[in-house]
Amino acid sequence: MALAGHDIGFQLQGAVIVTAALVTLGALFSIRSQPEATAEELTYYYDAPIKAGIYLSLIWAMLGMFVGVWVALLLAYPELTFDYAWASLGRLRPVHTSGVIFGFGGNALIATSFHVVQRTSRTRLPDQLSPWFVLLGFNLFCLVAATGYLLGITQSKEYAEPEWYADIWLVIVWVTYLVLYLRTLARRQEPHIYVANWYYLAFILVVAVLHIINNLAVPVSFLGSKSYSLFSGVQDAMTQWWYGHNAVAFFLTSGFLGMLYYYLPKRAERPIYSYRMSIISFWGITFMYMWAGSHHLHYTALPQWVQTLGVTFSVMLLVPSWGSAGNALMTLNGAWHRVRDDATLRFMMVAAVFYGISTFEGSFMAIRPVNSLSHYTDWTIGHVHAGVLGWVAFIVFGTFYSLVPWIWHRERMYSLILIEVHFWLAIAGTIIYLIAMWNAGITQGIMWRTYNESGTLTYSFLESFVAMHPYYVARAFGGFLFLVGAALAFYNIVMTVRHVPLARNVTNDASVGPLSVPTGEATA
């Protein structure tokens, strides 16, 4: 690829892959040269890939959120491209979206899924190699994607921008992930599969299906980066938004609900409020989300009957979504004093609240007349961020603050005050961001549909854009606060690993043997 590529972008992508492959090979070699795991070690949970996944997630969070603040500022101060092609909005924006969704969110999902599946199945991951292949292979995909965007390589499908060669690689990685997860579940020493694993499994399985179908494309040449989608016109748009909305559903919702279902009851030390609600919500979400994608294409060439199905399933979807949020919040009954005192648990509580808010907003915006105001405006951006800042990032940080002391066997996090500061920075940043985007979006939507008595437009597009300036500045400020909070989390986690003493009663990782009770977080 690096040598034979037809275009410079493809060659550079090849160079990125070769470099990453060499680094990985070197790492594997050094692992191989160490002694084989002893029989005793094999009775422990395999946590090394989880630890690496947490660090990778945090590194991508820094990168993705920094670029997010940058692109937010670009919209207010366009000269911040500094006249570099790679720094233009069209190239930086997918670095932000892929960086936070796949880099930050994806690594957090992989790491926590390895943790949850081992603990709730009381078994070790079945082998040493495939967890590393999944984790590092996924990060290679993210790296190829992000560097490709900067070079201008994109197939212009939102959240599916990477080109065909990166897509094929991700399929290989993702199928390995699915097989690894199923093998672990098959080895479980519990009679039942815990809810969190249903969600993680739905996430892994459906993302594979979505990714493969939406990325069906014909490369112009096997030595070039460009490809053309198998679909055209409105079919292409519908396939893309079937993918796009289910990426929200199964990547940004299902996976993180899995996270919520393990770490929230664990941290609150309360039983799940209702097993029956878990079932209704799981199947409701899994079945109904699949139909909702067409609400992204209201008032377009898409046939109206497809839009109708999008509206109705989006509205029905609200109920199981609120079922999940309610189940999480009711689980906290009996532990609200902990929510008050423990910022980590408060992160998870706020995540559940924002999950409820953003799913309500989503169903509301899917209704055609509402959509005619909100579509193409910054309200959509605000809605996405209610989900990814308020829900996804909050649950991830709450999870990491719980998980880090557990798997590194530390007594506690390095600084509880920093967690508290992070919480307030994150919530202030999120609220500033959302208020700015709600105002911006509704202002835009109204300006675009205001007519003079004669029937001509009152405002030009330019005027609506000029009117956005103060909101865009406020949005960048909100995002900046969120970035600072995330940086504090990174610092706090690194300091925990380096400076907090080991927990006294746990000297090594919890055993998985059927006779010994897994300790670790059980006592944390």
Binding site: R122, Y194, W322, E521
Partner: protein, 299 residues
């Protein structure tokens, strides 16, 4: 193995399962959730009955309301057109003087002009018609093709150096790179042109050499430039040749920019708007650009 127990806080039984310390309560699904789910299902079923909804092979259920978004849109477009023809028709039929004398029409012209200009013209000519390098200023009193509204309307329709069959053509030849004029002659032309414009140029200090050069430049000007830009440099609206005696320059009035213009020529591009804007919109824009300077032929 699975033994249910009663949760002390809520009083509900657990399911008896446990995963690494996590238990689940067997709490019944709250009635309110069932009620909401039923309400949502009823809403969906009602929507499906009324609106186009389910695919049936190569057709679909049409819905009892008979609503069709394409027909609805077409209907809205017709209503909107009917509403607008009451003023678009007179604007298209009347000449500029007659429109100017009609206060009702002028009210519509004034309220529609700014948004039309900002949506279609501002990206090149600037939000207030300030222009910029390569793009003529519109809020002054000099007009390449004349200040007559019909001339501006014509430029809007056919463009300049555009793909329109009747396009206006304005071409500044490349005197230097085509070998017609030497570099020295161009230098002296630059000095001469700067001397007749009202632009202050710091470089033209009065020395004997520059005076001689200016004279040489004047001779070359008469020979090569006066045909389009007129003997006195006032330009010619018949061929869109700019006035060189004022202080406005499309491509810059400093020596470097003028030398580049004389050497490599210029041919600006203005798109033809005939197929993209209606006649009434082009007339409204004509009034609007004429009003930008605040002094000219104001509506």
């Amino acid at each position: 193995m699975s033994v249910s127990e009663r949760d002390k806080y809520s009083g509900h039984m657990t399911t008896g399962h446990e995963w690494n310390g996590i238990k689940e309560l067997n709490t019944p699904v709250p009635k309110i959730l069932i009620a909401c789910l039923s309400a949502a299902f009823l809403f969906a079923i009602g929507y499906w009955v009324l609106m186009p909804a389910w695919p049936l092979g190569d057709t679909f259920t049409k819905g009892t309301l008979g609503f069709d978004q394409r027909k609805h849109l077409a209907q809205q477009m017709i209503e909107s057109d009917n509403n607008q023809t009451r003023w678009t028709d007179p604007i298209e039929q009347l000449d500029f003087d007659a429109i100017r004398d009609n206060p009702q029409l002028m009210a519509i012209v004034r309220e529609s002009g700014p948004a039309l200009f900002e949506d279609n013209c501002a990206m090149c000519h600037g939000n207030n018609g300030d222009g910029g390098k390569y793009f003529p200023k519109l809020n002054d009193t000099s007009w390449l093709w004349g200040a007559d509204p019909n001339a501006i309307l014509e430029t809007l329709a056919v463009g300049i150096n555009s793909a329109h069959p009747d396009t206006r053509i304005a071409l500044m030849p490349a005197f230097g790179s085509s070998g017609v004029l030497s570099a020295e002659t161009i230098d002296s032309l630059v000095l001469y042109i700067q001397s007749i414009s009202t632009t202050e140029t710091s470089s033209t200090t009065e020395t004997t050499t520059t005076a001689e050069n200016i004279n040489a430049g004047q001779a070359a000007y008469s020979m090569y430039c006066a045909g389009c830009h007129a003997q006195d440099g006032s330009g010619n609206i018949e061929v869109g040749a700019p006035n060189l005696t004022d202080d406005y320059w499309i491509y810059g009035g400093d020596s470097v920019a003028l030398t580049a213009t004389l050497t490599d020529g210029r041919s600006g591009h203005m798109p033809a708007w005939e197929s993209r804007l209606s006649l009434s919109e082009r007339k409204i824009l004509t009034f609007y650009v004429l009003s930008l300077n605040g002094v000219g032929d104001n509506p």
